[in-house]
């Protein structure tokens, strides 16, 4: 369950030039949420991939659409929601086969694999009529 209100949220335009800002913001927030620097960097990468997917696939690179990113501090982790309109991304559940992708000369398809590898949970859903990518990362227990 996600709490009703996020601890922090930001709404950006669907522009790839803003990705670096999102990465730096996410790194900063997850560090504040007690993630180590390497873990914070990886979570930032997963958010970068998710927002990039929205810009490229849901908004077809239209630069005047909105994307809202919400951060929720959870006991022992962080929960992140990315809200957007447009088309939901095409998520293929089958395991990514790099060898096959090389043979097909594919350039895309690695982003969701990265997101799923980094985060403990990645889920695409609709909430109150809006598309949402919901991700959770728990802190490692030593």
């Amino acid at each position: 369950m996600f709490p009703p209100n996020p601890d922090f949220s930001i709404t950006i335009l669907s522009q790839t030039q803003l990705l670096k800002m999102v990465v730096e913001l996410t790194r900063h927030i997850t560090t504040l949420f007690n993630f180590s620097a390497p873990e914070a960097q990886k979570i930032s990468l997963a958010i970068d991939e998710a927002v990039t997917n929205v810009i490229k696939h849901s908004y077809s690179n239209n630069s005047d659409q909105k994307i809202t990113i919400e951060y929720f501090l959870a006991p022992g982790g962080v929960k992140i929601r990315i809200f957007y309109q447009g088309l939901p991304p095409e998520i293929i559940d089958e395991e990514v086969n790099i060898g096959k992708m090389i043979k097909k000369k594919k350039k895309g398809g690695l982003g969701v694999k990265l997101m799923k590898t980094i985060m403990d949970s990645v889920e695409y859903k609709t909430i109150n009529g809006k598309n949402c990518c919901e991700m959770i990362k728990w802190q490692k227990t030593i």
């Binding site: 990886k42 990468l45 594919k106 694999k113």
Partner: protein, 120 residues
């Protein structure tokens, strides 16, 4: 300062690409343009030196994935060298480290091509 910089030079018949900074979906077109230019000029032996690369996303890795088959078909390869720990880890997360040739040093990467016959 620019977020991402790219330059290249030819060393002993091998094209070395130096990537610097933050390579994401916003910057990736410049990386692709450079790879395409090298291939168009029949440079199929390519080393990507990532010593000063501090961030890469799937957009950048996708370019390597998208062109490596063509390069290998023409007797070349794309080798990666001098990556920092976190950038290397990103490649490892998608399984690239098992498929591509990663070496610690640029000179070693260049010398590895001396065993590959050129088709250019």
């Amino acid at each position: 300062m620019k977020n991402f910089q790219i330059r290249s030079k030819i060393v002993n018949g091998v094209a070395v690409l130096y990537l610097k900074g933050h390579l994401d979906a916003h910057q990736v077109a410049r990386f692709e343009k450079e790879i395409v230019r090298l291939i168009r000029d029949s440079n199929f032996k390519i080393v990507i030196n990532g010593q000063e690369l501090n961030y890469i996303t799937s957009a950048g890795m996708g370019i390597i994935m998208g062109y490596i088959d063509e390069v290998r078909e023409k007797g070349g390869d794309i080798k990666l060298c001098s990556l920092g720990e976190r950038v290397y880890e990103t490649f490892d997360l998608v399984g690239f480290t098992e498929i591509y040739d990663f070496v610690t040093d640029e000179q070693v990467a260049i010398e590895k091509f001396s065993h590959v016959p050129s088709q250019s």
